[in-house]
Symmetry: D3
């Protein structure tokens, strides 16, 4: 259940029995052949699935994240790190004010990890606030699934190629991951990664994707028990 399906009275009723909330942080950035919103859509889909089984509410997903390295790819929208942290703080203060106390942040984008610092600062300040943080592609259980099939996770590869973020055909042949040193700026990143994938197969069997997805949902169900 998402906030947009409710009015404030529904939320007030919900809070009489429950104080958990899922917050989704995404991005709008190049994902090679996949949707620009993949990092938003995937964690939101996971949140919806977890919500269906627990009834825990899902706040509106933030569809922008920290992506300075991808701004040479058209369609990428990058927030400054300071901006993202402020957005996260404001969201957190607001839902705390509403009465929510246990927030599970489902982050869909590696570049957003800077937000963790602000989350802990908030937890130090707001009495009774409890926070959890989940990044599906870094989860040990999801990684185990990948290893089982001899697959390695990487940006904009098979890893993120869920059917619901496919917006065009995907190449059949895997891509050799380019080698590099140092922190690349936006131009260097595009020069190096060309189509934007960081390498490996572009797609795998639907069954593997389903297994990955279900594993991540199980992780979330486990984390929601806090």
């Amino acid at each position: 259940m998402r906030l947009d399906e409710l009015n404030w009275m529904d939320v007030e009723n919900y809070l009489k029995q429950e104080d958990r909330l899922m917050l989704v942080l995404g991005s709008c950035e190049q994902h090679a052949y996949l949707s620009l919103l993949a990092d938003t859509t995937i964690p939101l889909a996971l949140a919806d699935a977890a919500s269906q089984r627990t009834g825990v509410l899902v706040a509106p997903a933030l569809p922008f994240g920290i992506s300075p390295y991808f701004t040479a790819y058209p369609g990428t929208i990058s927030l400054r790190a300071s901006t993202l942290l402020d957005v996260v703080e404001d969201i957190l203060r607001s839902v705390y004010r509403s009465g929510f106390r246990r927030m599970l942040v489902l982050n869909g984008h590696g570049g957003n990890q800077a937000a963790r610092a602000r989350l802990v600062e908030m937890a130090n300040e707001l009495a009774g606030l409890r926070l959890a943080w989940y990044e599906w592609w870094l989860s040990h259980s999801v990684e185990t699934v990948a290893l089982k099939y001899g697959l390695k996770p990487s940006h904009a590869s098979w890893l993120e190629a869920f059917s619901f973020v496919q917006v065009s055909d995907l190449p059949d042949e895997p891509k050799t991951p380019p080698a590099y040193k140092g922190l690349l700026d936006a131009e260097e990143t595009r020069d190096l990664f060309k189509d934007g994938s960081f390498g490996g197969p572009y797609k795998v069997d639907q069954a593997i994707m389903d297994e990955m997805f279900n594993t991540a949902v199980e992780d979330i169900l486990n984390l929601l028990d806090f």
Copy 2:
């Protein structure tokens, strides 16, 4: 067409022939019996309708706005004014970097008007950037429709009761708008407005809503011609 239906290559192709983009600013705040996301959903629906007729792309809607007066209503998520302005700046710089030059901002929430100042600051800085700003409920043509039916616009009343933001039944009887002076804080606002509507009928004929919607879409089509 929304950005989430595209990958970056699609956007690159789009930009070879077109440099317009619609940006949607919303809010997540109490709307009495209507969806908490009404201010996001309505301008996004208008953008989608205008996009269908022009092919102009729609960026992901920002589902949070400046709503400090409503934070005593659960489910309201308010950004500080400074945060919203930073988000708007970052979005604008990013899409300008992508190559977009004419941006129509569809603002769905009165509290976001502070963002206009930052928009003009950006226009002063970024060469060739052209901006337009539209708030459907303040439009002269939409107001004319309302007047024709003897209706007055107000927050969370019939004005916003489009079918796609109705999440519960609406009261049959109109509400008398409460009188007040000064700027209210969040507690005073809830004490005064109780269910959250600012007064007037809660709903009107579907035909009127359609006429309002279509009028706003015409406004947008006109504004997109810049």
Copy 3:
């Protein structure tokens, strides 16, 4: 009575019997043939008049506002929106610390409306703070006076041509308001508005100006009763 006529002991005595204060927000921006400080001088004159009849203190006027659209006109001094909000917050915290509790903000410049968001944020935070906001040129009663004489308000026109902000002769012939769409940047604004007036007559009978002024003072007296 203005703060500059007092020392701190006078203010301490004042606060034993009274907790109201008038704050004036202005601007320093082009007003065609009128004084660059018109937006500061007019609300300050209104405040002085209201102070004379009520004894309510007037804080020093802030002579700068948010005017990014006018920076191509020499003499315009524009604060970033974020700066103005910070100034307003600091002033408010300081006078609250002094013991003032009811503040009437007399805003003389449309571009400053972004400050309202910060005011409400402050009201949410500072217990017992009560705020009111007044913009004379948007007041229903002042508008009624204008309508009575068939006049329409617009920037740097007859509306603001009080004798005390006239610094040069005013054109005899009215100006046709230029038409435009979208948000203009500073260069476009100057190109379009040339002398800076947004159109209409440059001056009207002194009696009308007096009626306008007195009407606005009555509004303020009414608002001070909060």
Copy 4:
């Protein structure tokens, strides 16, 4: 000549022959028996006098400064250091945009010295900008006058007791300066300094005040030659 006596066309004409401007930074803070605005009124009076002899324009004085140590005295309005620096930056960028190139900042308040850092940052960024900074009470020539009469400068003493900032009678007997160590907070400051003067005589002969004033004006005339 102050900006409020001019319209933008006057400034445009002025800039054809001259690019100097005087900026006045003041404060609104306790000055014992003197006006709360003493730090604003004094440098503004000096600027007016220098303007009369040179024709150099005077921008609107900023009537607020950094005064955190005095906030326990009612009527004191203190800006955060960060706020003042932002205001100073915005003013500087605006007048630079207008075409002014040589700015003499007349600072009336010791607490504002933090602004110097931002001024140099601006000078590093804005090509051709030239800045000077003057604080009348720290001037060597003014100090020489004081020494000649065996007087020592201190806050809210004879030093600032110009007739135009006197708003009440002044004590006849001098005050013994209180001794202290460390940085005092606002409460400690009021506890220690009681009436707010930092000590010494509260007033001296008008002739001395005139000599001080004229000496400072000469300093400014000298500095304007840059």
Copy 5:
């Protein structure tokens, strides 16, 4: 060679032949029985070693980082994330202005990873700037050494117990790593981790430590070749 052994003329000479610089980001936070400055001292020691073999200059280490989770341990000094990012930006702009172009950032503290976002933003802005980032304890080669000896890295354990950060005796017995879910606030962190170590042995053979250190130095030498 560190900057404090040089004057500006030395740096000017250095820049005639070389444009590389090592920047050290540290922290001042609890490390159980080890020095509060371990995260600063270790990367600085690595930088010194690499400097001795390459002549590349070492900038002054920043001895504070982002440590909000450890503030319940006395002696921990935590910068807000926004502050650290600003410091990093200012350092980078300054050394770029000096003429350095290739900067290797040696980060000693996991909490500082938020700074990477700002670094990429800077790389996008400053032409010709090249950046590399190294965290010794996350290096693949260092991890390989640990695995060889069956050791797992964790905060304030054997991993960081270099002789030069030992300030007291270390426990002989290893610690069982406490289990937890979610993001802990400062109080919860101290309650859970007690002495502050995240678990494992507190010390290992000096030879292993030397091998770790030398491996990290080799990594740095390799990275400096960019």
Copy 6:
């Protein structure tokens, strides 16, 4: 005793009996022939000496300060004023959280004086916090020593030429201080001051330097008694 020689348990023990702390603010900026870190090294040496006689702890020195005027000299690293103030605030909040209550700030760099404003703001906010501020080169007692030997203090001259900041030979002949008016930007500063010294002898007898140093230590011992 410096924090880097301790672990958190040592600090906890220290705080059972003592709540004083010395904080050192420095800079990394041109000092003519002297070390770029002179402004950091000198106050740190003073702090160490005072610590040896009192046992009062010394926090890690901040090796960067506000030096926009010196950025044309290679090796100078300048923080924006706003950044320094934020660092100082974060340090202060952290050590206050640890339990320290009396902080003596030893500032080694004139440009850092802007930080005083933030310190007082903190003192107003944090109950029981007591602050002192010391700048050795402005101290009356140190000035008296200089006067005794007919010496005048100035940047990068004999005044700062302690043996422990000498990194190269010093000129034998004194330098005539260059004359100037106004605030210089970075380029003008280098053009004017050439080698970077503000004038006077480059060195004096070691005995004078010792007397200066000891006098400053006495000042600090006196200030620590608060």
